[in-house]
Subunit: 265 residues, 2 copies
Amino acid sequence: MENKKPLILISNDDGVSAKGINELIRFLRPLGDLVVMAPDSARSGNGCALTVNAPVHYRLVHQEEGLSVYQCSGTPTDCVKLARNTVLPREPDLVVAGINHGDNSAVNVHYSGTMGVVIEGCLNDIPSIGFSLDSHDPEADFTPCEPFVQEIVRKVLDAGLPPLTCLNVNMPAVADIRGIRVCAQARGNWVREWECCPRANGANYYWLTGEFVNHDPEDDTRDHWAIRQGYIAVTPTTVDMTAYDAMRRISELLATDPEAGFRGK
Amino acid sequence: MENKKPLILISNDDGVSAKGINELIRFLRPLGDLVVMAPDSARSGNGCALTVNAPVHYRLVHQEEGLSVYQCSGTPTDCVKLARNTVLPREPDLVVAGINHGDNSAVNVHYSGTMGVVIEGCLNDIPSIGFSLDSHDPEADFTPCEPFVQEIVRKVLDAGLPPLTCLNVNMPAVADIRGIRVCAQARGNWVREWECCPRANGANYYWLTGEFVNHDPEDDTRDHWAIRQGYIAVTPTTVDMTAYDAMRRISELLATDPEAGFRGK
C-alpha cells in the first residue's frame, strides 16, 4: 500500500445526483482514488434488495484524475456487486455509502439502502462504512460533518474493522457536533405507517409514511438517543444475524437432537 | 387464547400464486385462522425493501371460513406492514413466510424477501418464522416438510420466541428428512455474480446470477451444511444487528470519549 493511494468504492441510495453523495466525494477526494457506482435515481428504503428479474445497466458519467463516477439502473446492493465485478481494477480498500439524507439508526438499518451498500461490502470482507445525516432536506448542510467523516475514514483505512463487522454512522444535523459515541442499535418500531391515497374507481391505495417510536428508556445511550443529543452515533453492525443467545433455548424447543452439533461463534 | 384460534399472518416473496405459499396455507389451515397478504408477483431478492415512491395497493382474492387471501402490489415487507394496519382485526399471534422456492440460509438472510417478512414481524414483537425449501423448482414437492412445518409452528405458537429473535428455517428437498438442527448462519459469499446481457446499440447490461461459496470448514455445523446433510436447519436470527463483541474496539478507535456511555445488551 505504500506509494499507492487507497481505492475507495462509493455508493448511496439517494441516487448519483443527490447532494449527500457529492459532498461525500468532496470530503474523500484527499484520501484516495474514488470509484463511484450509484443508482440513477432515488432508491430509499431498498434495504439489501437485488434486481433479479431484469438486467442491470451502468454507464460512466464523469471521469477525472482519481475519480470515476458511474450511474447504475440497479439497487444500492447491485451497485456494489456490479462495480466489484466490472469497473474496479481490484477489490477496494473501503466501501463507503452515503451521505444519506435521513437517519438510518435503530431499526432503520434493516430498510436502509445505504446500509445495503455497507452490508454488501462487509459480506465480501471489505471494511465498509455508511454515513447518514439526520435531515431529509435535499439541501441539508453537510459541512459540520466533514472533519468527522474524514477522521473515521482515515482511521478505518488504517486499522481495518473486525471480521463480519461494518459501521452505521448517523450524524446530527447541527452546527456544533458534540463528538463521536459508539452505540448499540436502538430498540423501537414504526407506527401509523400508511396514509390513504384516494383514487377514482379504486380502493385500498396507500402511501408509506409513519413515525418511529423509540422503546429505549430516556437515559439510554443507544444510537437514536445519541444523535438527538448532538453526537455522531457509530453503531458497529454485524452481518452475522445468528441469535447466539437464543440457540440453546430454540434447540431445546425444536431440535430433534438438542445436543447435536451446534456451536457458538 | 382458550376458545380462540390463533391468528396467523402469512406472506412470501414468490407471489400469491406460487406453489410454496399455497402448500404453506394447506399445512397451517388446521392450526389457526389465516390471513394471507402476499405480493401479486415474484419479489425474490427484495430483502427488507419498502415501497416509498409509489402507493401500494391490495385487494381480496379469496375468502372462506378461517382463510382470507389478499394480493398486494408492494414488497414482502410492505405486505406485513399493510396487513397489520388494514385487514387484520388485531395483531397476529404469528407471522409465517414462505414456503420459499430456494434456500435462504447463510448470507441469503440479507437478500431474502421471505426473511423480509419475518424481520418485519419480529421488529413488531410478533413471533415470526420463515420457511424455505432448497429447490427452485416451481413444482417442487413440499409434502415431506408438512409434519415439520406444523410441529415448528405449533411449538412457537405455544412457547413464543425470545425478544428480537425470529426463525429462519431452511429445509432440504429430499423425501427422507433426517430431523431438525438448530444452527448458526453459515459464512461465505457469492462469486461470479453477473452474466453479460448483450443488447443492440447498448453496452454494460448484466443479469444477476452467481454461485455461493461456503467459507466454513467441511465438518462445520452451520445452516448451509445442515441442509446439505438432509437436516432442516433452524437458524435463530436476531433483528438487533449491533456487533456487541466489537463495541469496545471500535470505541477505542473512534469515540471522542471511549469511556462514555455505551453498554452491552
